[in-house]
């Protein structure tokens, strides 16, 4: 039995929860729309690019028209970038299949067109995202969601400003990569500064805002050891700082070693292609070029991890035995055998871990 006060709170709270539910539904719908639009863009852009190839190869096209063709291609490639950016916005970063790290310069190439579109047409966007920054251990989709949200907030803060300008600057400091997002808008009042990361807090009418953007973005960042905070906010503008962990540092911290070398020994090129992709998604970019398993290993040195099918691991074991301990010094590598039947003798004999060929996406769990 609730007290009259509790009943009053429940009665007053009901419409608010309803609004919040509606806001969440609207947010989900926007995600679906972004995904659908990206899908349709891809279906339209690919035929246009193929037709441009055909036109470009034609000798009947006058030289004067080639510049037009090149300009059309650039425009269409811009649309393709938009489709890639929409995918980043609508994907779930917690899914295992999503890439778990980002090179900021490559990420920015995808996201920049979306940010430009999110700002008003007379806003100047200044950006500095150097190519030599270390890779960060945060999915590109998380970064896209956070920065897009900051850009949309910046747009509103800059409404009515004579020369609106947004700046994005990436730099490395104290073992982190920092992404500074600055605008020259009207800044935030004290309450907004204090509460802007709270769920459902918004300065705008509920009909147009969910108040979930920054809080969701920050929660996602926290999942990956990253964060966003306000550096400053005055009547001359606001600066947010997104702090990101460096991939190699986190890998080194967890293993206490250098970046690992992975050696692939499998005969099926299809399996190899999938494993390579999965390794790349976990930030492991080193693997052997030749993967047939029949080459001697002396020239390569000892790998940290060997992944292969049963025959490949057998061949590896023979190569290692033939090479001898002098040429392959160091700790024994982690062995992962891909199979359909529990790995058979390889697992038992060599302490290899087994992974089901139909569930290769779990390979990241073995590599941690």
């Amino acid at each position: 039995m609730s007290s009259p006060e509790q009943e009053a709170i429940l009665t007053e709270g009901a419409p608010r929860h309803q609004r919040e539910l509606q806001n969440l539904q609207r947010l989900a719908m926007v995600g679906t729309l972004a995904s659908g639009l990206g899908h349709d863009l891809r279906n339209v852009v690919m035929p246009v690019l193929l037709r441009l190839d055909v036109l470009g190869a034609s000798t009947a096209i006058p030289e004067s028209a080639r510049a037009d063709l090149a300009a059309i291609r650039q425009s269409v490639l811009h649309l393709q970038r938009l489709a890639a950016g929409l995918r980043l916005l609508s994907s779930d970063p917690r899914q295992r299949s999503e890439v778990q790290f980002a090179r900021l310069d490559e990420w920015w190439a995808d996201v920049c067109p979306l940010v430009i579109d999110a700002l008003s047409s007379h806003t100047v966007l200044e950006h500095s995202v150097p190519a030599d920054l270390p890779t960060v251990a945060v999915p590109p989709s998380v970064l896209a969601q956070v920065v897009m949200n900051l850009a949309m907030n910046a747009r509103r803060a800059m409404e009515g400003i004579e020369r609106p300008c947004m700046q994005i600057r990436a730099l490395q400091r104290d073992g982190r990569v920092l992404l500074e997002v600055r605008d020259n808008g009207t800044g935030m009042d004290a309450e907004t500064r204090d509460r802007c990361f709270e769920p459902f807090f918004t300065t705008r009418p509920r009909e147009v805002a969910t108040g979930l953007g920054l809080s969701t973005g920050r929660a996602l960042l926290h999942d990956f050891g990253a964060d966003v905070r306000i550096l400053d906010s005055t009547d001359e503008g606001s600066t947010f700082e997104v702090s990101l962990p460096i991939l190699d540092d986190s890998a080194a911290a967890s293993t206490g070693e250098r970046a690992r070398t992975v050696y692939l020994v499998m005969s099926d090129p299809r399996q190899r292609a999938v494993v390579r992709l999965l390794l790349a998604q976990h930030g492991l970019r080193e693997w052997s070029r030749d993967t047939t398993g029949d080459e001697r290993l002396e020239a390569r040195g000892a790998p940290d991890v060997v992944i292969g099918d049963v025959d490949g691991l057998d061949a590896y074991a023979r190569s290692r035995a033939e090479a001898g301990s002098q040429t392959l010094d160091g700790p024994a590598p982690q062995l992962i055998v891909i199979g359909q039947d529990g790995g058979g003798g390889v697992r038992r004999a060599d302490g290899a871990q087994w992974i089901d060929a139909r569930r290769l996406s779990t390979i990241g769990e073995l590599l941690r």
Binding site: S35, G38, H39, D40, R42, N43, V44, V45, M46, P47, V48, L49, L50, R51, L52, D53, V54, A57, L77, Q80, R81, A83, A84, R87, S91, Q95, R96, S97, E98, D110, D268, P269, R270, Q271, R272, A273, V274, R276, L277, A357, R358, R359, L360, S361
Partner: protein, 135 residues
């Protein structure tokens, strides 16, 4: 297979814009020997067995509730000499892993450039497996 060897392509997709453009583009490729398209996706397995294309480009988002993964399984079983490349405008999720472990030779997003699509087809013709996602 050498560069000069011939190859044919069947494209199982309901996007006529893509079918027409791809056929025109492939005609520029050395060794290109023929382009097939399907009216009835339910008959894909029969058509592939009858025509024996070198490459089958298979869209995963087919109309009428046709299950592309079933088509893939049928082709792999009945006509293993035809190599299937999944061509999709929905490149995320677990589809890639399912398709490749079910016997697809390639997984290419429609969000890549035309050069990467053509290169991907060529590489699968030559016996490589190809995964080409967004730019």
């Amino acid at each position: 297979m050498e560069e000069s060897d011939t190859f044919s392509v069947m494209c199982i997709d309901d996007n006529v814009l893509l079918l027409d453009a791809l056929e025109r583009r492939l005609k520029l490729e050395p060794g290109f020997a023929g382009f097939h398209r399907l009216e009835d996706f339910q008959q894909a397995g029969d058509a592939v067995e009858a025509l024996q294309p070198t490459i089958v480009l298979l869209d995963v988002d087919l109309p009428g509730g046709v299950d592309a993964m079933s088509i893939l399984a049928e082709i792999v079983t009945r006509t293993p000499t035809s190599r299937v490349i999944i061509l999709t405008a929905y490149p995320g999720g677990s589809l890639l892993e399912h398709a490749m472990s079910a016997g697809a030779w390639g997984f290419i997003s429609k969000g890549v450039t035309s050069d990467r699509l053509i290169e991907g087809i060529r590489r699968v013709v030559h016996g490589d497996a190809v995964i080409a996602l967004e730019e």
